[in-house]
Symmetry: C2
Subunit: 524 residues, 2 copies
Amino acid sequence: MAIEGVNLIGGEARQGKGPEFSGVAAASGETLAPVYREACPGDVAEAARHAGEASPVFAALSPEARASFLETVADRLEAARAEIVPRAMAESALPEARLNGELGRTIGQFRLFAEELRNGECFSIRIDPALPDRAPLPRPDMRLRKIPLGPVAVFGASNFPLAFSVAGGDTASALAAGCPVIAKAHPAHPGTSELAGKAINEAVRVHDLPAGTFALVHGGVEIGTSLVSAPEIKAVGFTGSQAGGLALAEVAAARPDPIPVYAEMSSINPVVILPAALSARGGEIGEGLAASTTLGAGQFCTNPGLVFVIDEAEADYLAFRDAVAAAIGGNEGAAMLTAGIASAYQDGVAALAGHPDVKELARGAAVNPCQPAALMETTAAAFRNDIALHREVFGAVSLIVRCSGLADVFTALAAMEGQLTATLQMEDTDMEAARDLLPLLERKAGRILVNGFPTGVEVCHAMVHGGPYPATTDARTTSVGTLAIDRFLRPVCYQNFPEGLLPEMLRDANPDALPRRVDGKREG
Amino acid sequence: MAIEGVNLIGGEARQGKGPEFSGVAAASGETLAPVYREACPGDVAEAARHAGEASPVFAALSPEARASFLETVADRLEAARAEIVPRAMAESALPEARLNGELGRTIGQFRLFAEELRNGECFSIRIDPALPDRAPLPRPDMRLRKIPLGPVAVFGASNFPLAFSVAGGDTASALAAGCPVIAKAHPAHPGTSELAGKAINEAVRVHDLPAGTFALVHGGVEIGTSLVSAPEIKAVGFTGSQAGGLALAEVAAARPDPIPVYAEMSSINPVVILPAALSARGGEIGEGLAASTTLGAGQFCTNPGLVFVIDEAEADYLAFRDAVAAAIGGNEGAAMLTAGIASAYQDGVAALAGHPDVKELARGAAVNPCQPAALMETTAAAFRNDIALHREVFGAVSLIVRCSGLADVFTALAAMEGQLTATLQMEDTDMEAARDLLPLLERKAGRILVNGFPTGVEVCHAMVHGGPYPATTDARTTSVGTLAIDRFLRPVCYQNFPEGLLPEMLRDANPDALPRRVDGKREG
């Protein structure tokens, strides 16, 4: 599979009609061949038209047929590993092992959604049989299943060129739901995007699906806006900045028919260290925190940027603090994904370091292009008084907030915005405090961890990678794990249908043996 | 239970601090005692504060405890039947049998949601056990359940003073989810609202729940805006006009933390009569259509306002048309819910009757205050050319669109906005046409009926009372049936929790024997 510098529209690999641009090597800043041309609004309209035509055909596939298609996507991604990983390394400056792992995760997501389709829970099938003798009025036969929303626009993230990008979780879950996808490649990794997109396109061809089942377009804000405005598009998946997510949400809300936007945006991921844990494992927690903070240059939406420590005993606190500071200070840093991200990180760290109530505890000794990790400390009072300290700085920096007791933690957390994660470090003797905090943490975050660190997002059934605004635009959903498919489905009720008109999965025969609720009771 | 002219705030029955108003007898226009005073924004803020305080306590109830509370609400509503029905008759001009039935439905909704809580499907429990030996990294224990969003604002509808109002489906499903409710009474039935609210309040007291679990406020647009803006409110349920629903959605989107609005707004509910059905049962279909159109003065969001007829044989069409026209012409009409609704109906019918491409086929002989039903006819070409003909006129009027073939129906439906329902009248020999139409109907409506009429919305597991915009603001949901609870829940993931900190329903012991997916496979 060669990198040709193309968009994928209507099943064809071709140059866009917009301006030229090129990939850039993240570590060196050098331009990478080939030259790309962005899509123009006309290209987007064409891709959307194809997606609209593909939609009813793709929606009508049986769960088994769609599962088989997803598995072919997985196979094709695996087959392209030797091309994808080196290009992603060049474009992102992320290390080989990480990108090999990320590709494995990306492939795994498609296989997991194939399983989920065969499992069939996602269709929420319900049958309330007719009650012809009910008084005063008979009940007609009522059947419910979930159907795909229609074509979905997916906006890839800069920090996961594979798992949250063109062939990432949004695309996998939308395709699993039966929705054609138009992916907008992130400009930071056009080559990786092209290779991933071609793997999907090959699967579309192998399964003889309509060409509009998948498309890939390159471009910036204008192309993103065209895509979200296209009448055929019925939902949007996005991972990126708050400004970007909110801009797309605004475009979506202003359509003649507003559509849902699932934007995962920002999170500082508070960690609370309770007193017994601090006393028992302060040093160990410190090392774990530093490792989580500096992993991948801190470029994770689940990076632990904020740590509340209840320091009942000064010595316990110092043991913890010194362990984090030593690890952060000794960290060699890493090149960041783009020059813009590196510069925003530098500005964010400088702002913290220059804050009158913030003390810099450690700074890594990174050499350009690597960015130094950093550790800061402030007080609960300062945190209460300045909302700027609540905000995420994307990169390897953590801010420790010293609290004199649980009340300080409550006040601070209650004032915070929604988060993807919240973490408790605790021992058995911290149980009462943990129980008191739990309802507040549930209200603030989509995932709550005990004695771990928030980086590392399992792809499984019980994952919630989501959370209250502004962590995401829709706290009712997750973008990772099998529940992510639910974002792209809606229920439809079929009343008094003759067997021959019913969709296959709702027929009495239940040919795929899918699980159903009959009169509310579970069968199968 | 006496009607005192009160709001219910913080568990107390008291007059609001806003302007005075009174209920009005819908049939006579006479003022009904007692005098009410609207809530003022300060009253709303107080109710919201109480709801915020009640929220974690109410959320923490076991499914059984919450089910039991819902059953007490049902009991108290039943106990107040003798007060509620006469007051609702006076305020709405709806007949006794209808209101007795509607109260039964309202009570039944609470009982059904109690069952649904005990059933436990709604919590979507998932457990992915730890994999300590997994390479390269172990998997922590991951558990998921759905938790309540937080306090919900409910806006009652004018046309269902019981089933879609203070104690209606939005309130029942929000309380079932574990969300405190603040209901804004519809000004058309303040007394009915007070009685229903008091029944809920009594149940709150009997179960010793926090006073903020339920509140009732009276007021207009300003109070509605205050309510949706209150920081404690986390979701909105609304049934009413498109203008009203969109205004609330705008307020909700402009909050510092935007919240979901579930607004059920408008629908003209197309009925398609296929040729064999027209030929076999034209007269019968006509009578059924007229009955559905005129039921309750046509004041249903599922009223069949639009009928596409494929008239391959002129005689078949005439048999159908004459049957509808005779029934509509002979209909005695009924008083409408409010003077405003009656006047909007008159305007809508006059606009249709005066349309150059619309022919009036029949008009009922109603005498003031009753409003005459009406039947209109137009051509497929006229329907294509004037979007005004696609719009709902709330009341007992239907517009027949004569189509020369299936292609006309396709073109017309494809150009239409989202609907609550779509109906097919068909015989076995119409099957091919029905199959061709189905994907389009699925895209346009939340519920599809065969050989029935859309009025009559079953409260059951398989019901979808919802649909694409502008039928509702959120096609992913239903406001009727057990799936309605999902609107007020969000998933939370608990990672690596010690057993003692886990919410009870996620513990290994599974004390309530709730259904779960373990590693994706269903148990229980």
